[in-house]
Symmetry: C2
Subunit: 183 residues, 2 copies
DNA sequence: AATAATAGCTACTGACAAGTAGGTATTGAG
DNA sequence: CTCAATACCTACTTGTCAGTAGCTATTATT
């Protein structure tokens, strides 16, 4: 839906609260009631954007789970997709939207989706530890830390910068794989 | 100032936009004009909270720069302090406040402070690479990634959880030092 | 041609919260 | 005792949106 792509760009650029649906409507050359006609209320617009982004991550998670290779390889594939999605509009929206923005209901819906992503990441870490391709560690913290690290580019990456999203994603994942200490 | 500690808690819990100064005033048993008397406007309240948090980080940065030891040791000390500050009220506020929240002026002020923190982190990485205590890497990305990873707990850590902030900070920094790959 | 559904509009209402006007009580200095 | 500064109040005004009422075109169906 065109409304969503217009809305998500404005939410990301100016923030949800600073974006009125009048603005979104105007950028599409329609009027606000038209948006209400399709989507009912403002939060719904945001929730659609968020779930669209989460769906991209869930697809990447399913691909990684279904893939072949050692745990570290499947995890890396997922982490790279995760970072890439988070540099696109709908993925960024998930990172930039603070959860107090949402009503309790919507917050819970999104929280469950995020939990599924996190669970996949944690499982992949555990599988890697089990097959020896990942160093033993507390998988829950590891997954949380990896996700946080890969959320960063949503905030600082600019699409006109010198490095492309895939380059950045690979560089970050390499860094996280190797760690700071020399070998 | 008591206003700031009350305000920062509400900003963190409910978000800046969802917190009215009437609410903050009521929680202190005073009236809204009292806050205006001292701080002029709502954004000023937020900016004071943010700069207070940044000052804690700048102090930690100065300590780390002045410290002894190899690059990795000074960096680790800074990262641990950084993570700890970000689990406290004023530090969290810096992480939770999206920058479109601020007016262009205030945004620039805060951006410069953040840049100083980031520059210190990057310098410490470079010094570690130079003295061989840190594996060669692109220091800018490394610093960005470390900071993002250590911003995570601001979002998920709960003060009544089983692990204390220092424990979490050390665990995350250990993980980032070692990386995923086995040695 | 008549009906109904779809998609869109203009012009409102209502709530909420930022910020202000203009006052009062208390304290300290001369 | 007076003046002025400080700290605080109640009661506004004002702007901005979210959301709604109720109208009008434009298809699609029978």
């Amino acid at each position: 839906m065109a409304v969503l792509t217009a809305a998500v760009k404005m939410f990301n650029a100016r923030g949800y609260h600073a974006t009125s649906l009048d603005d979104v409507a105007a950028s599409l050359g329609v009027s606000k009631p038209t948006i209400y006609h399709y989507l009912g209320n403002k939060e719904r617009v945001l929730v659609e954007c968020l779930t669209f982004g989460m769906d991209q991550l869930l697809t990447a998670a399913a691909d990684a789970r279904a893939g072949l290779g050692r745990g570290i390889d499947r995890l890396r594939a997922f982490l790279i997709s995760y970072a890439e999605v988070n540099m696109e509009d709908f993925g960024r929206c998930n990172i930039l939207t603070a959860n107090e923005t949402l009503s309790p209901d919507a917050r819970e819906t999104i929280r469950l989706l995020k939990r599924r992503i996190h669970a996949t990441m944690q499982e992949l870490v555990e599988e890697g530890i089990a097959d020896g391709s990942i160093a033993p560690c507390y998988a829950k913290f590891a997954a949380l830390t990896l996700a946080s690290a890969l959320n960063g580019p949503s905030r600082w990456h600019s699409p006109d910068g010198p490095q492309s999203p895939p380059e950045i994603a690979v560089a970050l994942v390499n860094f996280l794989t190797a760690g700071l200490a020399p070998r």
